[in-house]
């Protein structure tokens, strides 16, 4: 029947093609402005934070779950690291590690309450989104500036024409793409998302695995938050606001399904790139910020609707 007979059913392929078309068309329309290394480097820099968060979100969506608290965690992680360095003079690597550990703890709470108590992930992570935003405000107040140079260098140095966050993004994507494709550990998330009951009966420790996935999502959001602070040279309590919806949109565009069982890490990257490109094009086209939101919303609906219609025909894209 229809097995791998058509590469156009693979979201990674269709999305890559769409991105290619966007790039070519934009290069023709805004020759000078779009198609130069500075602009493309800036586009990538702007989406690098989202992309790192999207990797964790993709793993969650594969397992049939999601996390709305990632945006708050981004602000909290940057804020906590900054607080430790600025007020207590903590050594940079230690501050980063402490901050990441705190994020792991947030993920542990999310995961444990969802998996063992049975709270719906929407409710649990929505509540956590508020709690952690509050924590972020507590640690960073109205913002912390004048962070150590060593810390700022982590987010501001250049390598081969790209600023460091772009490289971090690529490293995270490459590592996780490899792990998710190749390890038995991550492969279990496809089974859990595909059929949780059958996964349990097949001997998969579903609850534990769920806790780990929330911890991973929080840790990656924390990493993204620290990189963001380093890049800006400051921790802002409002960082990452609205990020959860942007990231979930990107991940779903990238081939995930809210029902679980589907998606690839490469799809998370491509979804984020697509969103970043659209945002850039709208700026070049002088479309107002309000319209950008509207257009991104429409793109999400169109993408999901296409998916459902394709499925009804029995040719679901993978």
């Amino acid at each position: 029947m229809k097995i791998n007979s058509n590469i156009w059913q693979d979201r990674v392929v269709t999305l890559s093609a769409t991105i290619l078309v966007l790039v070519v068309v934009s290069s023709i329309i805004w020759q000078g402005q779009f198609a130069n290394l500075d602009n493309l480097s800036l586009v990538l820099l702007n989406l690098s934070i989202d992309a790192i968060v999207a990797v964790g979100m993709m793993v969650l969506l594969i397992s049939g779950s999601f996390d709305l608290s990632v945006g708050s965690v981004v602000a909290f992680a940057g804020g906590l690291a900054a607080y430790l360095m600025y007020y207590w003079g903590v050594f940079v690597p230690v501050a980063i590690l402490v901050s990441l550990a705190a994020c792991l703890l947030i993920g542990l709470v999310n995961g444990a309450l969802v998996a063992y108590v049975g709270i719906n992930p929407l409710i649990q992570t929505l509540a956590m989104m508020g709690i952690v935003r509050g924590l972020a405000l507590m640690v960073s107040g109205s913002g912390i500036q004048n962070l150590p140079d060593g810390f700022n260098a982590l987010g501001q140095s250049q390598f081969m024409g790209f600023q460091s966050p772009v490289w971090y993004m690529l490293i995270v994507v490459v590592i996780f793409s490899f792990l998710v494709r190749r390890t038995i550990f991550f492969r279990r998330y496809y089974y859990i998302g595909g059929n949780e009951k059958a996964a349990l009966l097949s001997g998969i420790r579903v609850k534990k695995m769920k806790v780990y996935s929330f911890m991973l999502a929080s840790a990656l959001a924390g990493l993204a938050g620290i990189i963001l602070s380093a890049r800006l040279g400051a921790a802002m309590p409002t960082a990452g606001q609205g990020m959860e919806l942007r990231v979930i949109t990107a991940v779903i565009l990238g081939g995930a399904s809210l029902l679980g069982g589907q998606g690839k890490i490469m799809g998370a990257l491509l979804g984020t790139i697509f969103m970043g490109l659209v945002a850039n094009i709208m700026i070049l086209a002088r479309i107002s910020g309000y319209w950008q939101q509207i257009i991104l919303g429409i793109i999400l609906i169109v993408a999901v609707a296409t998916d459902i219609i394709m499925k009804r025909r029995g040719t679901s894209p993978r």
């Binding site: 097995i3 496809y190 059958a198 998969i204």
Partner: protein, 500 residues
């Protein structure tokens, strides 16, 4: 007094691809009588009731209601014609009140078109009082009621439309004795009011307790109609059974060493269970729906954790708190509902086959070996004769029989010492069935012990070395192969007899 005829079904025939579900079956129902309908699984009882409730259309035959031939194109029309049905499956919304459930879709409205809550509660109260269910409050949420009380609400719901024909499909399957007697009281009241009741049950004593007449079906054919006063349990059972045994070829692979020993096991839905399972043995587990067989299997396999008692595997006491533990101890479990519990429908044949092999704690494997996975999948596709265009095919596109073979393949890959199978041939065609039986024989030949839960007596009798019978969560009998008889098993499973 001559009772009027409410319903006449004449020569109803219904065929599905490959099966004649009903073959010229006739049935009638008088006002104020309880007409019981008997037969083994697959005898055609459900199909007949589906025809009567408008869910299925007969290929041939007539439905005559109150003297007039009618067509019942859907359930709503059947309801309007005065036919109420209480299904075996739950149809209540548990987070709504009793009243909202009872009058679902037909709530009384006020002049503005809104639901008149007061009238709704009053009507429900009235109905519950008539049924003498005064302990149920109309405003109570259904989820707060016991299973027995929920069943009463189901009946109240069917009666809300004031039908003159009421179909009860295994209404007592999940009920305690006390609740059962409440149901019987309701049935007697309705009878006195002239309602005709069709009562489907596997429980012989119930049929003889409240039935006036009994019709027996077998393999879609009418077997007999008797007044319950003029017949007895043995005669009815004789009419039900005696189906031709499919060519199952019992093979003796029984070895003397015990691989699984269960002692004094208590848990939700069963109590005081003790038995042992030998290497190479196929041990049947018979019983009616709700007898506690699946619950027992789930407890042994570590899905349900609340249990007390001892489980010994190869003479060592083990604690099984997760299916993963069970797998480590060499157990496998083929669940009752393959689509919901056994398969990853949107995943490929190869991904499904290897699914039990991912989490092998002792191997310490980290990386997926895709080449090995494909090799294994190819091997099983060939060995189990799974008909699929490719091992990359999503299993959702395969037939039931092939799907079941994939679930079996999952477990064969683990080479289990003990395989528990729950209704392994449910809903699959005859050809696939006999292939599954062949595989069970091969497995037991290689030393695997199989605990086989099945509601099809013919397959238990055809394959097993011994059969355990459960009723109401208790073990009623353990029968050795030379003593197998369908009549005996039915008597044990309906709780009429118990082995000392």
């Amino acid at each position: 007094m001559v009772k009027s005829t409410l319903l006449n079904l004449r020569h109803i025939t219904k065929t599905y691809p490959g099966v004649v579900a009903l073959d010229r079956v006739s049935f009638d129902l008088l006002a104020g009588e309880v007409h019981a309908l008997c037969g083994e699984n697959g005898a055609g009882k459900s199909t007949l009731m589906n025809v009567l409730s408008g869910n299925q259309q007969p290929d041939r035959g007539e439905i005559i209601l109150g003297g007039e031939a009618v067509v019942l194109p859907n359930q709503k029309k059947a309801q309007e014609a005065g036919i109420g049905i209480v299904y075996q499956e739950k149809s209540l919304v548990s987070e709504l009140s009793v009243a909202d459930n009872v009058f679902a879709g037909i709530q009384p409205c006020n002049t503005w078109g809104f639901i008149d809550r007061q009238a709704l509660f009053a009507k429900t109260q009235d109905l519950l009082e008539r049924l003498r269910l005064t302990t149920i409050h109309p405003q109570q949420l259904v989820s707060t009621l016991s299973p027995g009380k929920q069943q009463m609400v189901e009946i109240a719901k069917a009666l809300a439309q004031e039908p003159n024909i009421l179909i009860l499909d295994e209404p007592t399957a999940a009920l305690s004795d006390d609740d059962t007697s409440v149901v019987f009281d309701i049935v007697r009241d309705l009878k006195a009011k002239g309602v005709g009741i069709i009562y489907i049950s596997h429980r012989m004593h119930e049929i003889f307790k409240i039935g006036d007449r009994v019709t027996v079906l077998k393999d879609g054919k009418f077997q007999g109609l008797h007044n319950t006063q003029d017949t007895n349990v043995d005669e009815i059972i004789r009419l039900m059974v005696g189906r031709d045994l499919q060519d199952l070829n019992y093979q003796d692979h029984f070895q003397s060493d015990v691989v699984l020993q269960v002692k004094d096991l208590d848990g939700e839905g069963f109590s005081d269970i003790s038995f042992s399972l030998h290497r190479g043995e196929i041990l049947g587990l018979a019983g009616l729906v709700g007898a506690g067989r699946t619950e027992l299997a789930r407890a042994i396999f570590g899905i349900d954790k609340n249990k007390t008692g001892t489980i010994k595997i190869n003479d060592e006491s083990v604690r099984i708190r997760h299916p993963q533990d069970a797998i480590q101890f060499g157990l496998g479990y083929l669940p009752e509902h393959r689509k919901e519990q056994g398969l990853f429908l949107d995943m490929s044949v190869v991904e499904n086959v290897v699914s039990t092999n991912l989490d092998v704690g002792d191997s310490g494997k980290i990386w997926m070996d895709t080449a090995e996975m494909r090799r294994v999948a190819d091997h099983f596709v060939e060995k189990l004769d799974i008909r699929t265009p490719s091992i990359n095919q999503k299993v959702v596109y395969l037939s039931g029989g092939n799907q079941q073979k994939i679930v079996l393949g999952k477990w064969l890959l683990r080479k289990p010492d003990i395989l528990i199978v729950d209704e392994p041939t449910h809903g699959i065609d005859v050809g696939a069935k006999s292939e599954i039986y062949r595989l069970f024989n091969e497995l037991s030949a290689s030393g695997t012990a199989i605990l086989m839960i099945s509601s099809e007596l013919t397959e238990l009798i055809g394959l097993c070395d011994r059969i355990l019978v459960m009723s109401h969560g208790e073990l009623m009998a353990s029968i050795d192969r030379p003593d197998f008889s369908e009549e005996e098993i039915i008597q044990y499973s309906s709780g009429l007899k118990r082995m000392p």
